[in-house]
Amino acid sequence: MLALLLLLLSAGGAALAFALTKPGPRLLVLGVVSVAHLSIVGVLWRGPSASALNGWLAVDSLGLVILTLVSVLFAAVVTYAVGFLREESPRGGRWFAGCLLGFLAATTLVCVSQHLALLWVGMETTTLTIAPLVYHRHDRRSLEAVWKYLMLSSLGIAFALLAVFLVATAQPVSSGSRPLMFHDLLTNARQLDRQWLRAAYVFALTGFGTKMGLAPLHSWKPDTYGEAPSLVSALMSGALTSCAFLGLARFTAIVFAAGLDDFARPLLIAFGLVSLVVATAFIIGQSDLKRLLAYSSVEHMGLLVLGLGIGGAGAFGSILHVLNNGVAKGMLFLTTGNMVLATGSSAAADLRGLLRARPVSAALLLVGLFAVTGSPPFGLFVSEFAIVSGAVREHHVWVAVALLTLLSVIFVGIGGMLLGVVFGARTAGVDENPERESAWLVAGPLALAAIVLVLGVYIPGPLRLTLADAARLLGGSAP
């Protein structure tokens, strides 16, 4: 029931936001909805809730993890949006709030839908709701970005739809299992037609891979993240990609359950490594901070599928990593947003030496550097380490070696830029005397930073259990 409630809440909020004409109330709606969303999700953690629409909507462990991530990120983004809309002229505040809430609805739908086609609908809707936000600046560059994003992800999502149909085809009519229901598919996976299922998986991988931004399907990422307002980039890199991963994870779970591991795992590992390599190549000598973060997102998507492909502790690691990466990325993009607001540019050259002008944001950026590169004691260390140890346990030693090598090179790239931005020689244009950074603009990132730090040293019991259960769905286990 709660799942349906979440859906209605966010969708209704979106409608309301579109209806409202004054910016003030719109912000209020944003705030109220996000708080309500967060609290309902909190309730979900208290125990399993009844499914809605005869089982089409339900919250399982996998969905709950992502849902929580989405909800938290959204809350952070909303607080940020208040400050953002103040700084920027509140152009299209209506579209802005409406699409934000629409996006929340779409992602929620993805997380709670147990019906693959419904999940697909949610997935497509995320694209459609985020596109206007990407175009928020209404200039040539953002136009180009949104165009590329639309075409590429529509293509991908089309493939995903085909994948859904193929799964339905693979499902025998005679069997009592309801069509395209995740858990029915899981339980009767052995009865599925393996040939059709393989085909389905190939298309699912391409489709959701495009949405996740796995190389070489990632081309839209740097442009979109680079041009979209930072808080939109935060949502995309934190929530959207995670939902895409959820979709892929559901298909993967079915395929594993059907005993097609030996078919699927190599694909996942290959995708992961390719993404890591490409990300590495583009991170080195990157000159734009937001594009850098986009490629880092490619890297982490690669890590996710890698962990999935490795299985065992790796699967556990990659589910935990979704959480960590989402939070860290959101935090980094919001922080970057502050930098961009300060200088009006996201080119590293223009951002150098902001420690004086924007101390809090600069410090956050430094934290982000170590968080996003998987350094202890941040959450990403735990998950990445789980993935690495999974690789060693499952006898993918060379994968581990390659992974660590690439990670070290990536660190050089990211570290080089971020240290330059934080400590580098001051650039003209930035006012030297530190002005008080608006609380709205730093509260969100600060909270996210705190979360990613806590996740590095302490995992609450329920979370641990949920993660373990989710890992079990994906044929993995807690290390």
């Binding site: 260390f381 590095g456 302490y458």
Partner: protein, 652 residues
């Protein structure tokens, strides 16, 4: 254990004080008190552990992968803890005075980071399971980065910090692999549990030992992984250099010892590798030090040298236990730990003095200094003691540990098996000693003796007590250990024996400690002899006339300070002997002789390698030309490839 926690707590509190009060005299006083008190508590605990040979443990429940967190304090970590807290606290106090010279930057953040860094270091040696170890490890790394970046306005510092953090992160990733390998078949990541699967030979064990060399080697900074060390030590404030050179790099040594403790007697190949690395680092470290003109870079290279000596001891220990000589193994490990301790002492002392010179004369360039002995006698005395100690001259602490290493090597030479080849280390060690003597004769002579080579040197005065006292304290400890080694040697052998899990038979231990007493006796004899000689000399001198005049110029009248022997020319003959390996580019002109050093690893290997990596990456960037149709083609191509895979694997 509680005492230790309280101690660390007061370190954190000290940091909090600085952050809360944003510096100022009151904050500094409180800071110093808290740090010193905390260190005292910790050291007291550690000494207790070393004396009784007991092991304290504690456990923190955790839901993270790897289960509960284990912490503990055993003789090995106790030995390091003493060095960490002792040097750390003194450096912190020194730092207060040191930072006051620079009005540009607010010192309080760096003071806070310093206290936290010391706490993190202590945690590293107390961690007994993967998660807390890695956490403390990286906190330490990040802390030292922030400390190196204290003067981040100088490009030099930024570059140094970047090189450092990259190097250390690569090391951290190696540790990822190391622990992942150790934890490959257990969910319990406490060191005790990890050890189980890895004590008997296996591919995993080999991997672990190799990874330890990489992961901890970067931190220890032996050749060729030393490249981050000189820039970092040069760019950081002197008290930070003291901490890093005295303690932080030693954590690498600690890691190696801890791994040996984990996996048991290592195979011969590992022992020989460590031994060889140690020998090379010792020789080249001191050789490259000889080529430097920047006091702090020079000292940094000497850290490489001493890490080499420590590794020779460590390697000897590993070899001895590999070939089954537990007693000798204990000596080797003990020597390593003891020299670690000694180096922590005299190296931080030397950095204190170098820092005082730098602050007073506002330059680190040897060629601009000179004649400071008359201007800052206390610092000069401290430096002289430090120099004699690092060169290994009796009766100072450096001699004691080097003597122990030599003794072990000679003893190895008498064994019947391959181990006896280790005796070849003695001449190498002697060469190192000779080169070190040359190098410190150069520094002491050029900086403190003769006449000043630039006006900068003339403005130098004796620094404030905050800078002098820590130096005096450490100097006196150096002398104390040198004169009365038995006490320290005893406990160090206990630490060493702890690493070598096989029980050391009391006979040999007693033998060693007896000879330790004899070393003490000899030191005493030497001191007495000096006393007597001084007395005789005095008697001779008072009986004759004495007058003061100019230095004899060999018939050449107008001698000027510029005619003094420069550091470059002093080192030239030795560097010539070693030719290309000496890592120095020399310019010989009719009137000028100048040499500029470069780092063989950083400037000749790593930088070019990185450049080529970049080139490859740049080539790959052409994939992203901005044309949507190309991207669509990528997508379709990917799909096609996957479909191909489907066709191939589909049948199966």
């Amino acid at each position: 254990m509680t005492l230790l926690w309280i101690g660390l707590g007061s370190l954190v509190l000290a940091a909090a004080v600085q952050l809360a009060l944003r510096g100022g005299g009151r904050a500094d006083r409180l800071f110093a008190i808290l740090v010193l008190a905390g260190a005292a508590l910790g050291i007291a605990t550690a000494i207790g552990v070393l004396r009784d040979g007991t092991t304290l443990t504690a456990t923190i429940p955790s839901m993270l992968p790897g289960g509960n967190w284990a912490l503990g304090l055993d003789p090995l970590s106790a030995a390091f803890l003493i060095a960490i807290l002792g040097v750390g606290a003194l450096s912190a106090t020194y730092g207060i005075g040191y930072m006051r010279y620079d009005e540009e930057i607010a010192p309080w953040p760096s003071h806070a980071f310093f206290a936290l860094e010391v706490a993190a270091l202590s945690l590293v040696v107390c961690a007994r399971s993967v998660m807390p170890f890695m956490g403390a490890w990286e906190l330490m790394a990040i802390g030292s980065l922030l400390l190196i970046l204290t003067e981040y306005r100088h490009a030099e510092a930024r570059r140094a910090g970047f090189i450092y953090i990259v190097a250390t992160h690569v090391g951290t990733l190696a540790l990822f692999a190391l622990f992942a390998t150790l934890a490959r078949n257990t969910g319990d990541w406490t060191f005790g549990a990890l050890a189980q699967g890895t004590r008997e030979p296996s591919a995993a064990r080999t991997a672990v030992l190799a990874l330890a060399l990489l992961g901890f080697g970067v931190k220890a900074g032996f050749v060729p992984l030393h490249f981050w060390l000189p820039p970092a030590h040069a760019a950081a404030p002197s008290h930070v250099s003291a901490l890093m050179s005295g303690v932080v790099i030693k954590i690498g040594i600690y890691g190696l010892l801890r791994v040996v403790w984990l996996v048991g007697a290592p195979p011969p190949w590992w022992g020989w590798t460590v031994f060889a690395i140690g020998t090379f680092s010792a020789i080249f470290g001191v050789l490259w030090a000889l080529a430097q003109h920047d006091v702090k870079r020079l000292l940094a290279y000497h850290s490489v040298e001493n890490i080499g000596i420590i590794l020779m001891g460590l390697g000897l220990g590993a070899l001895a236990s590999a070939y089954g000589h537990p007693a000798l193994a204990a000596i080797g490990y003990g020597a390593a730990v003891l020299h670690t301790m000694n180096h922590a002492l005299f190296k931080s002392l030397l950095f204190f003095c170098a820092g005082a010179v730098y602050r007073e004369a506002r330059t680190r360039d040897l060629e601009l200094l000179g004649g400071l002995a008359r201007r800052m006698p206390v610092i000069w005395l401290a430096f002289a003691i430090g120099a004699a100690a690092i060169v290994g001259l009796p009766p100072f602490n450096g001699f004691v540990s080097e003597w122990l290493v030599y003794r072990g090597l000679l003893q190895a030479g008498q064994s019947a098996d391959t181990l006896r080849l280790a005796v070849l280390g003695t001449p190498a060690l002697a060469l190192v000693g000779g080169l070190a003597l040359a190098c410190f004769a150069k520094v002491a002579g050029v900086v403190f003796l003769g006449t000043s080579r630039s006006p900068r040197a003339d403005q130098a005065r004796e620094p404030s007590a905050l800078l002098r006292l820590p130096a005096i304290v450490i100097a006196s400890v150096c002398v104390a250990i040198g004169v009365a080694p038995p006490f320290v040697i005893g406990v160090m052998l206990r630490a060493g024996g702890f690493v070598e899990s096989v029980a050391v038979d009391p006979g040999s231990a007693a033998d060693v400690s007896r000879s330790a007493w004899q070393v003490a006796a000899f030191a005493l004899v030497l001191l007495v002899a000096i006393g007597v000689a001084a007395f005789l000399m005095h008697r001779l001198r008072v009986r004759v006339s004495r007058r003061v005049s100019d230095t004899w110029g060999c018939g050449y009248a107008a001698a000027t300070p510029r005619m003094q022997y420069t550091a470059s020319s002093f080192a030239a003959p030795l560097l010539d002997v070693f030719g290309a390996a000496s890592g120095v580019r020399t310019h010989r002109g009719p009137t000028v002789f100048h040499s500029e050093p470069f780092d063989l690893a950083l400037d000749r290997a790593i930088a070019p390698a990185w450049a080529s990596v970049r080139r490859v990456a740049m080539r790959l960037r052409r994939l992203q030309q901005g044309r949507l149709r190309t991207y669509l083609v990528y997508a379709v191509a990917t799909l096609t490839v996957l479909l191909g895979y489907l066709v191939v694997r589909g049948g199966a």
